[in-house]
Symmetry: C2
Subunit: 311 residues, 2 copies
Amino acid sequence: MSKYCFGVDLGGTTVKIGLFDPEGAVLDKWEIPTRKENNGSNILPDIAQAVLDKMEQSGIAKEDVIGVGIGVPGPVDNDGVIHKAVNLGWGVMNINEILGGLLKLPVKSANDANVAALGEMWRGGGRGCGNMVLATLGTGVGGGIITDGKILTGAMGAGGEIGHIHIVDGEPDECGCGNHGCLEQYASATGIVRLATRKLTSVSDDSMLRNEEISAKSVFDAVKAGDKIACEIAEEFGEYLGKGLAAVACVVNPEVIVLGGGVSKAGDILCDYVVKYYRKHVHFASRDVEFRLASLGNDAGIYGAAKLVLE
Amino acid sequence: MSKYCFGVDLGGTTVKIGLFDPEGAVLDKWEIPTRKENNGSNILPDIAQAVLDKMEQSGIAKEDVIGVGIGVPGPVDNDGVIHKAVNLGWGVMNINEILGGLLKLPVKSANDANVAALGEMWRGGGRGCGNMVLATLGTGVGGGIITDGKILTGAMGAGGEIGHIHIVDGEPDECGCGNHGCLEQYASATGIVRLATRKLTSVSDDSMLRNEEISAKSVFDAVKAGDKIACEIAEEFGEYLGKGLAAVACVVNPEVIVLGGGVSKAGDILCDYVVKYYRKHVHFASRDVEFRLASLGNDAGIYGAAKLVLE
């Protein structure tokens, strides 16, 4: 008899849901809106209904479902307690119990960035590596650490918050977290725009970047075209991210570091800038760590969520 | 029928061995010399003999011994393979298999700094905390990370190498690891002496420290006596170590950070200097982490080694 599991990636706007077999093949995937009104009280019932409807449509019996995994945008401890999800209007509650009660199925939950790392380990860029770091370079810098095949959750579910490692002293701008000088302020998409704007203001040299809207993409496109100023911006980005990841590697000694998120679409050239500074600053035991690009894109969350219930 | 386990802490000069009950009471402890001649080929046979002799003297039957745990000065992976122990003259070998073969008992091994962390978690300063960081401030800065009650080993057994997190740009002196600007260069006993010597050379102010041999102890004694220069040195030390531990906490989100090693004998005042900068730079999810002093001293290794076989 076939067995199934569901992976749910709960975001601020949409909920992605995937139906998987235990080997990690996606049999179906779809989205529903995230209804945040009334402190997000509809969200878990909506997810439960979507899963139950799919089971009915597909003729899947309850006893053939191993479980439902879910990644949520906030810190979740190992018991399934979310301590806060500001985006969703949620306070403290036990997701495993609530969603499990609605579904009458086993539910496991974890932080979305950590779940994405588990997904990349299972079927993506970190495939086959039980000791892995995922750095997600998007609007912010998220992280997920896998040690010995499992998510490093931490005491309060905030393991892998690598975007808030302090990297630069004397930074005048405030990070979203309230600190100054966090990795996220230099290595995220918005961080690269900040670095670029500062550089273009501080020097008068000619650059392709002066004629277009600055984004992480336009900076790395200019790097590929050999633009000198863009290359200097990329060096600065690489130095900060390389240093930050070297610190992470001194702590967890991974086998592979996977770069994901929108910024990673720049491709291998991005890794080159990071690896140079990583190798300079890391402990020799982690010097030969392999760098790879994430390969699951926006599906990393549903893969990782499904994997949660297979452990 | 009583059950027993042995904890072995293999150092460069002596091997400490402890006989424990499964609750962590030390029933006996003693030392033998570490014979490093002939590439350390006598070391494991000596340890085996010492354990077997003790069992015979104490009338302990083989079936009553749960196992023998051993902490070794080098990176050890989860299968018991040590990749190199320069101090001992060892190359690559599987300690669990070799020592287990000599003893005909289950053997588990791990890196000594990580084993000390496990000991402090089990019966020392981190008691009751399954998510813990131990920073050992001795000649160097060692580290051990416990997540979910287990040692964070890493891919090659080099997890917890927190002494080699890059902290300062432009450091002219080389660290023992070959890099420049590692945490160990500022937060170890020798690092504090370096900071003190630099400070005393760069300013002409009067200080108690000008009249005595500089050591981590003399610096913190002068801090306690209100010496202004010593306090400035302690601030610098606290800033570097606080920043480094904040980076570690962003990665692993611990419940408690334990400070051990010779430098930690300075006591609570040491924590005060570190905590101030830790809280400034850490992600808010780890801001309230508790700082404690290690309490097992040189016995942390035998405790942690015994705990290895009880897992």
